[in-house]
Symmetry: C2
Subunit: 255 residues, 2 copies
């Protein structure tokens, strides 16, 4: 089995694009809605969509509420009665910031808004579609085949691992704030889902330090190495992963 | 010994006001600058200032960059060559929000902006004044007598303790995001201070669930019970507390 219907944000490049391509290899996947702010500029994604009719492109800006609301309607139309099995909150930015940066509120807020608050709002907006898919099964089983929210997290979400400060180029202070906030809302939501008997799984997966525009060319692993592991891990998600923080091989990471 | 000069935000009521009163009992404290958004409405704080000339009132809105910058100039004038020994980032809000709330980006962002981003910006703006105080001593000793930033944190900053979801009244999801982000920037800053040889301590203290306007009348402890412990703990801060999360009795809390 596999998630039949998938919506992924930030699919125009990097890990998002890699996830689209890797998920197409999974038997049973029927519909992938690939969201990106600028679809016109996403040439490789367009080419993937042309060669596989399961991929649908959708212009969505996760930092814009109206855009999110419109995307729910579009995805609902594409997935129909199946509902949405898997939401991947992948869209994100690094806004370079550090202790020694000139104080700049807008920069810090933008990073947190896009990476954490937007992922929260997308999750809330898409919850009815996820619940629709979850309702196809009885019981309280949790899996990405049934209904799941996967946040593309980061080792920057770990306070225990936050020992090197703002990091290379005085750049990661705000990004770390955003990624811990992402884990926080996922844990609040996971507990609420239990209390509300909503059988939707939510978890956070750290992709590793990946050779993307964001990760830079010095990064440790290729997009392929990262997304192969992430997609395999998504297939293994169960109740033990609810509200957690994991690396791409589903090993627990410390908070 | 004690911090001679102290600046505390959100001093108009609750824990902030309690901290001002409790710090006045500490022998050696010379100057307390009590910041509040609305000084005119802070009647009890005004009365405290009238009865003790060590207390100076300062209108400051931590969510406003110009106001922070002005407050640095005012505090610099009041503390003079001593510099600033202790900054207490106490100002904060709860913006009720939960998984089942109608999605509202502005509410979530406001909570994070006031509680985490503003505390970060205040810390950055006041760092030169803290370094000035720290420079009165040689060596790398860390203490609140020398120079420290104390964030009034929360058990909501702990992912390990975040097991009950959005909490009473579906209210704490955004607040939790803000308080984990506060710990995150403090850990980034602490590591940067080490790398930059800046002997300023930064830490996070959870005051407990306190009977204030924010905590409500059902809360577990009085303001007095909380601030007595917090002030005693501030006096004990050392390098082992750098970048940590502690309860009011300085017991380590899990991330």
């Amino acid at each position: 089995m596999a998630p039949k219907t998938i919506f992924i944000t930030g699919a125009n490049r990097g890990i998002g694009l890699g996830l689209v391509k890797e998920l197409l290899k999974v038997s049973g996947v029927e519909t992938i809605v690939a969201g990106a702010r600028n679809i016109d500029g996403a040439k490789e994604l367009q080419s993937v969509a042309k060669s596989d009719s399961r991929v649908h492109l959708l212009a969505v800006d996760v930092a814009n509420d109206e855009s999110i609301a419109n995307s729910v309607n579009s995805v609902a139309g594409l997935v129909g009665e199946r509902g949405l099995n898997l939401l991947i909150n992948n869209a994100g930015v690094i806004e370079p910031y550090g202790t020694s940066s000139t104080p700049n509120r807008a920069t810090v807020l933008k990073c947190i808004d896009v990476n954490a608050v937007s992922a929260l709002l997308v999750s809330q907006h898409f919850l009815p579609l996820l619940q629709k898919a979850a309702a196809k099964e009885d019981g309280d089983t949790l899996s990405a085949d049934r209904a799941a929210i996967v946040n593309i997290g980061s080792d920057c979400a770990s306070q225990a691992l936050n020992l090197r400060g703002s990091g290379p180029g005085n750049s990661l202070l705000a990004y770390k704030m955003s990624k811990v906030a992402m884990v926080s809302f996922s844990r609040s939501m996971a507990a609420d889902f239990k209390n509300l008997n909503i059988p939707v799984l939510i978890t956070n997966i750290h992709p590793g330090w990946v050779q993307t525009d964001m990760g830079g060319s010095n990064a440790e692993i290729s997009v392929d190495e990262s997304v192969t592991k992430i997609v395999a891990s998504i297939g293994k998600l169960n109740a033990s992963h609810h509200a957690g923080l994991f690396n791409r091989e589903l090993e627990t990471m410390p908070f």
